[in-house]
Each structure stands twice: as structure tokens, then as C-alpha cells.
């Protein structure tokens, strides 16, 4: 099992671990783990584009969370603007479906980046199971969305932007 798949499975386990009275530690770790599942999914996909396989592990260490979050926010906003220009009644095209999946991935990364920060460092938040289950379910959906578009040109171009430095 790949790291990102194991992390997602662990997040799913943690959110259901105590169904009646979930412990805060389980919910916090579920959020953090779900974020890292998505982080490692994208990094592992991005490094596959590096031809020299022996350098890929080192390359993976060069991805920065905040840069990735910024790149995802840019992609999400760019796609939002594009969706607004398209008539809601317009027939769904393959291109539009790819973009909607990519939007989910980018949007989910931005959100999870925030909630991981809260889950790991903010003592003031009390987490509830339904909220955390919704976050984990969103990461699951982002995984499925990514799998359906990973070979598309738009998805591959997006991976490259994750490596870039801040563009605010």
C-alpha cells in the first residue's frame, strides 16, 4: 500500500474509532492524517515526472506546504472564474469534468491545510465527529477525483505549479 493510501485509511479508521464518544485526540489525528494523505498523494504524483527515479525521494522533500497551498488557492480561483463564465446550462464536456475534479482537489487542499493547522496546534477548538467525518469524506472524494484525471494535461500542469515558490 502506498503511503498516501495508508494515511487515508488511517484517517478513516480514526474518525470511526470511538463512534459514540470520539476522543479529541482521535479526531485531531484524523484531520491531520487526512491532510497528509492528500499532501503525499500530490507529491508522489508530482515526482513521477522526474525522469531519474533515484532522485525522486529527495525531490519529494523539496515540496513546501505553504507553497502548495498557495498554488492550490490560485488554481481554485482560476477555475472558479472560468466556471462563472460558463453557462450553467452548457452541456458537460470532458474538459469541464476534468476541471471540476481538479477544482475539488485544489479546494480540498486549501481547506485541509487550514484544518490541519488547527487540529495540530489550536487547543481552543473542540472537534465533533460529523465535522471531521465530512473533512475525511472530502479528502476521499478528492482522491477519487484525482485518480480520474491524473493523466490529463491539466492535472499534470497543476502538479508542476505545486513545486513553484509563492505567487501571491
Amino acid at each position: 500500500m502506498k503511503l498516501h493510501e495508508g494515511l487515508l485509511e488511517q484517517a478513516q479508521h480514526l474518525v470511526r474509532r470511538e463512534p459514540r464518544r470520539p476522543r479529541q485526540v482521535s479526531l485531531r489525528r484524523a484531520i491531520s492524517t487526512a491532510y497528509y494523505a492528500l499532501f503525499h498523494l500530490l507529491v508522489s504524483e508530482a515526482i513521477l515526472n522526474w525522469k531519474r527515479a533515484q532522485d525522486r525521494d529527495d525531490l519529494a522533500r523539496m515540496f513546501e506546504h505553504t507553497n502548495m497551498r498557495t498554488a492550490c488557492a490560485h488554481k481554485r480561483d482560476e477555475l472558479n472564474a472560468e466556471f462563472k463564465r460558463i453557462q450553467e446550462t452548457a452541456p458537460p464536456t470532458h474538459d469541464l469534468t476534468v476541471k471540476r475534479h481538479l477544482h475539488l482537489v485544489a479546494e480540498t487542499f486549501v481547506e485541509m491545510h487550514q484544518w490541519r493547522e488547527n487540529a495540530d496546534y489550536d487547543y481552543s477548538t473542540t472537534w465533533v465527529r460529523s465535522d471531521v467525518a465530512a473533512l475525511v469524506a472530502t479528502v476521499e472524494a478528492a482522491f477519487k477525483a484525482w485518480k480520474s484525471i491524473r493523466k490529463e494535461d491539466a492535472a499534470q500542469a497543476f502538479l508542476f505549479t505545486l513545486f513553484q515558490k509563492k505567487r501571491r
Partner: protein, 71 residues
């Protein structure tokens, strides 16, 4: 409103859901629908330059926790 994880101003929405709406098999669709509806109406990023984040809890969960911020 509060700064987010990257230090930028953000708006945080607390959404209280009926117990039925938090059924696990519908949770993703429900929360996505609510979030995008609110974003369409408020449009915080374009109108105010604010990132928006959403948290959810059920009526039962809030009844147990009785958190003032959620009342």
C-alpha cells in the same frame, strides 16, 4: 473573522446541521452543497478578499457541547 494558517484574514462559518443531514453517506454532498451555496451568496473572496472556511456540527453534538459560539 480571524487570520488563517498563512496569516491572512479569513472568515469562518459555523454551520449547524440537522441530525439527519449529518448521516455519513450524505455528509460529503450535504456539506459541499451548503458551502458552495454560501460562497455563491456571500462571495467573500471576490467581494472582501477573504478566504472562507466552514465547520459543521449536528444539533445533537451542539446540544451535548453547549458551546456558546455555536448558539
Amino acid at each position: 473573522m480571524a487570520p488563517d494558517a498563512i496569516g491572512e484574514d479569513a472568515i469562518f462559518f459555523r454551520v449547524l446541521l440537522s441530525d439527519r443531514a449529518t448521516r455519513e453517506d450524505k455528509l460529503f454532498e450535504t456539506t459541499q452543497r451548503i458551502k458552495h451555496k454560501i460562497l455563491d451568496i456571500v462571495n467573500p473572496r471576490e467581494k472582501y478578499g477573504l478566504e472562507a472556511y466552514f465547520t459543521y456540527r449536528s444539533v445533537s453534538e451542539q446540544a451535548e457541547l453547549k458551546e456558546a459560539a455555536w448558539e
